[in-house]
């Protein structure tokens, strides 16, 4: 096993041993469940959001609708909870000096941490998708999905579209996680990093709805949460998907690279 893989494995093990990990994961799984229960118990629906009006047609629609609601602050908060803590917790516990005086290079330790925080983001989104799909299918069945173009797609095809949509939806979240890792590395303070990351994510959302921001809107991180709409059109609209790929790559790479430089050079002294 490579050095980075060993570090990654332990970063995951550490996440699994901490309550905050389950807090975020639990919330991601609870939201679609509550959503379905509430919709089963009442007659109204989220008709204004993409696929909202078809939510009772098929369980496949549930994860898509929850994606919309969770993108505002739900997923950014869950992401920030872990990414903002991933380096700062080591400062808090003074354990950075413990692991940096073994045989692993700083770059390897950093890579393991970054990969673990990104993995967590992927896991919470997939967990939400699965719970939403299962709960929705139990409530309304596993039927063909109505696309954003108004055409029906078969249930298996809809499942593929869901997987692709979750995949592209993770990217802006990873961008938020990358910013969280940067704050976590620079501030060495978990609370400041979590709050700062969430504020940054909300600011991105805010910029997207303010008048006069239209020219930059396609390049804001918040906009990329809608890239999955491209998959739900017939034929597929690849433009928002491709834009999300490169825009998110920048939002991920720049903070990670900055955090990497700080992590390599930082003094590990008493906090």
């Amino acid at each position: 096993m490579s050095a980075i893989a060993k570090v990654y494995r332990w970063e995951v093990a550490k996440l699994l041993a901490q309550k905050r990990t389950y807090l975020g994961l639990g919330a991601a799984m609870l939201v679609p469940l509550v959503f379905v229960i509430v919709l089963v118990l009442q007659t109204g629906g989220p008709n204004d959001v993409p696929l909202g009006r078809y939510i009772r047609d098929t369980g496949l629609a549930v994860p898509f609708v929850v994606l919309f609601f969770m993108s505002i602050w739900g997923f950014p908060l869950i992401t920030a909870l872990v990414a903002g803590d991933i380096v700062a917790a080591e400062s808090h516990n003074s354990t950075l000096k413990t692991i940096l005086t073994r045989s692993r290079e700083r770059g390897e330790v950093f890579a393991g941490k970054v990969l673990a925080s990104f993995s967590y983001t992927l896991v919470v989104v997939v967990a939400m998708g699965i719970v939403g799909l299962v709960a929705g299918s139990i409530a309304w069945g596993f039927h063909p999905l109505t696309s954003l173009s108004g055409t029906k797609v078969s249930a298996p095809h809809g499942l593929g579209l869901l997987a692709a949509s979750l995949g592209i939806y993770v990217l802006p979240l990873v961008g938020i996680a990358a910013f969280g890792v940067l704050l976590s590395t620079v501030t060495r303070n978990s609370a400041a990093s979590v709050v700062g990351t969430l504020m940054w994510a909300l600011l991105m959302q805010l910029l997207g709805v303010l008048p006069g921001t239209e020219p930059i809107r396609p390049y804001l991180l918040g906009t990329q949460f809608e890239a999955w709409h491209g998959f739900l059109r017939v034929p597929a609209d690849w433009a928002p998907v491709i834009r999300a790929l490169w825009v998110c790559a920048l939002y991920i790479a720049l903070p990670v690279f900055a955090a990497y430089l700080v992590f390599l050079r930082r003094d590990v002294a008493a906090e």
Binding site: K6, R9, K97, T98, R102, S103, A270
Partner: protein
């Protein structure tokens, strides 16, 4: 490379703004040394150790561990090196054993196969499955030693390893350090406890306000200090007169019916013959060696010229 000393720092400086925490420290720790790094709190011991372990970057100067610089060579410079600064730190939500497994995976070599052995050595096997968050300070210190020993170190850097321990814990920790040194491990031990250093170390460096004010063999430090003798006799007046007349016997004074003077061993031998020839009875002739504590206070309070 194999001949390089375990620790060699040259012109090591760490500055925090206006504060000069470490001021041009040159330290050399030789193989099999149990090297005491002594200084009052805040003298710069821990900052020096952090630089040695590559945790903080020196403002100036260099560190070499077995000929490798932690800044230049990264983790490779720490091959064969283990220890802790400012007390060992672990993940409180993991058990003692899982903490060691984690650290073993952060090591090259066979650390993982040694976990049970080192837990046994520090007598923590019974509590190894408990979370470190519930450990006492002493248990954490012992786990810190266990974590260091996983790496089969040739050099152990221990920062105040007995701080916060009860007397029995301190004794056990010192016994452990003595045993490790007996196995040929070079130990650099920072401490402000003089008795501990006097008991364990063969060489010392004394640091005050970031500067090394003495470095060398502990024995030489103690022997080289101005040593005196106390002479007790039924005839102190006559004895004093013989002392005053004797070549090589200096600073003769009378205190509480005793004669006190300074002399080297050879002169004291000649003096004893002279006293016998003068038929002056001697009931006691006792060397008075300065304690490490006195020397330490003298050095750190600047009363003795820097070595």
């Amino acid at each position: 490379m194999s001949e390089a000393p375990p620790v060699a720092t040259r012109g090591l400086v760490k500055r925090y703004g206006e504060l000069l925490a470490v001021d041009h420290v040159d330290l050399t720790v030789e193989r099999a040394d149990v090297f005491g790094y002594l200084g009052p709190n805040g003298a710069g011991k821990t900052t020096s150790l952090r630089m040695m372990l590559g945790l903080i970057r020196p403002t100036e100067g260099s560190v070499q561990l077995f000929g490798r610089d932690p800044l230049r060579d990264g983790a490779r410079a720490l091959a064969g090196v283990a220890g802790f600064v400012e007390g060992p730190a672990f993940y409180p939500y993991l058990s003692g054993r899982r903490n060691l497994r984690l650290l073993a995976d952060y090591d090259d070599g066979d650390s993982r196969s040694r976990i049970e052995e080192v837990l046994e050595l520090v007598e923590l096997r019974d509590r190894a499955k408990d979370r470190v968050g519930g450990y006492s300070h002493g248990m954490r210190q012992r786990l810190g030693i266990a974590a260091a020993l996983l790496r089969r170190p040739r050099l152990l850097l221990l920062d105040e390893p007995t701080t916060g321990l009860d007397p029995a814990g301190m004794r056990d920790m010192r016994d452990l350090v003595r045993r490790l040194a007996g196995d040929g491990i070079t130990v650099l031990l920072s401490s402000h406890l003089l008795g501990e250093v006097e008991e364990l170390c063969n060489r010392v460096a004394i640091i005050q306000k970031g500067r090394v004010v003495y470095q060398g063999a502990l024995r030489e430090l103690l022997a080289g200090a101005a040593s005196g003798y106390r002479l007790r006799s039924p005839e102190p007046g006559r004895a004093r007169a013989v002392c005053l007349a004797q070549a090589g016997v200096e600073h003769v004074t009378s205190v509480d019916g005793e004669v006190r003077f300074q002399a080297d061993e050879e002169s004291v031998g000649v003096l004893s013959i002279a006293l016998g020839q003068a038929r002056i009875a001697v009931t006691a002739l006792v060397p008075e060696t300065a304690s490490l504590e006195e020397l330490f206070l003298d050095l750190t309070e600047g009363k003795v010229a820097a070595a």
